[in-house]
Amino acid sequence: MNTQKFRKIASDGLLTNNPTFRLVLGTCPTLALTTSAFNGVGMGLAVTFILICSNVLISLLRKVIPNSVRIPAFVLIIATFVTIVRMVMEKFIPDLYSSLGVFLPLIVVNCIILGRAESFASKNDVLSSALDGLFTGLGFTVALTLMGTVREILGSGSFFGLALWDFKIAFFTSQAGAFFVYGIFIALFNAVYSYFERKQHRKTFLAEFDVLPASEKVKEG
């Protein structure tokens, strides 16, 4: 595992292929559970844990599972981890368990997890798969936390359950607010991303024809 590969996996999961804002996967829990920042973090960490475990196990078994039955095998592995997380959470964090509700068993059909299993873990070694699971999961967690924070501050005037002021806009905690905030977040993320992409393109283009201003030239070596 060299630094370059590590950096690629990290930036893929958090930015370039951010599951929530770039790929728009796993939308159901994103919309339903971001009414408060705490729910967002809880869901994000549950998905991250399951993603790391399933990625590691699938990567270990990638030479054993026959190609024709790989999808049922992946689903079985994911469903097992979801069942474990559900039982542990019911026993130790009952508050979070009841606020996640039906979306906890629905992690089984979360397309992020099956997507990473199919496109990454079934082709790469254990360490990269674990890191990929970690960073994709963190990308999801960060996105849910950001949306949850915005909706909680505007909709219920609090931050992680801590009351800030009495000013509340009920729209942001309603279903319509979820769609609205998600849409605006994707648009902002797209705008920022394409700004940096254009900047990068300009740099490579100018460097290619050797007309880059001296101040922007990359030092060689």
Binding site: L25, V102, Q175, G183
Partner: protein
């Protein structure tokens, strides 16, 4: 009759699966580009949801509960749904090739549709069902009816959104709003409309 109307109103409008409960958002956003595609997906999902309720509810009540294997529900349900979708695909292909051509491509997508697993999990959650429907007991009949009308609710929502999207796509929106963001904002207005049904009763 009262219970029947309650299930219809509740499953289709008041607690619509897509815009109120946020189940099945992926096909809602992914397959709503054209009205005909949306209708095909809606019909296929309704069919699978009805049959799923018909099979998973008895499995849970008559097999898993007496054996105290409730914790196995996720694994059992996902396999039942996957097998069911395959079976429905084969049956339709055999008996009605035109129907298969119309909705065959949507069937494989349905296995990982959270609306289907969601309806299976909802009908076995007795307290949740009673909250939504205001009835005292759940049986196989109510479970199957709920599954069917939840599918109808999904179809209504996805067809409405596809109609709006066919217009919105021609609008001159800012570049970063194109695609998913503007669809989300469109869905936001739909959700406001559905919110009004909460005032019924």
């Amino acid at each position: 009759m009262g219970t029947f109307m309650m299930i219809v109103i509740s499953a289709v409008f008041v607690s619509n699966f897509v815009v109120v409960q946020f189940l099945g958002i992926c096909p809602f956003l992914g397959v709503s580009k054209t009205t005909s595609g949306a209708l095909g997906m809606g019909v296929a999902v309704t069919l699978v949801m009805t049959v799923t309720c018909l099979i998973t509810y008895p499995i849970y009540v008559y097999i898993l509960t007496p054996l105290e294997l409730e914790y196995m529900e996720i694994i059992v349900f996902i396999f039942v749904i996957a097998a069911l979708v395959q079976m429905i695909e084969k049956v339709i292909k055999k008996f009605s090739p035109p129907l298969y051509n119309a909705m065959g491509i949507y069937l494989p997508l349905i296995t990982t549709n959270c609306a289907v697993l969601g309806v299976a999990e909802t009908v076995i959650d007795t307290s949740l069902m009673m909250d939504q429907l205001g009835i005292t007991s759940v049986n196989l009949g109510t479970a199957v009816l709920y599954g069917f009308f939840a599918g109808v609710g999904f179809t209504v929502a996805i067809v409405l959104l596809s109609g709006l999207r066919e217009k919105v796509d021609f609008l001159d929106t800012p570049k970063s709003l194109k695609g998913f963001p503007v669809t989300m904002v469109t869905a936001c207005f739909m959700a406001m409309g559905f919110y009004v049904f909460n005032l019924i009763g």
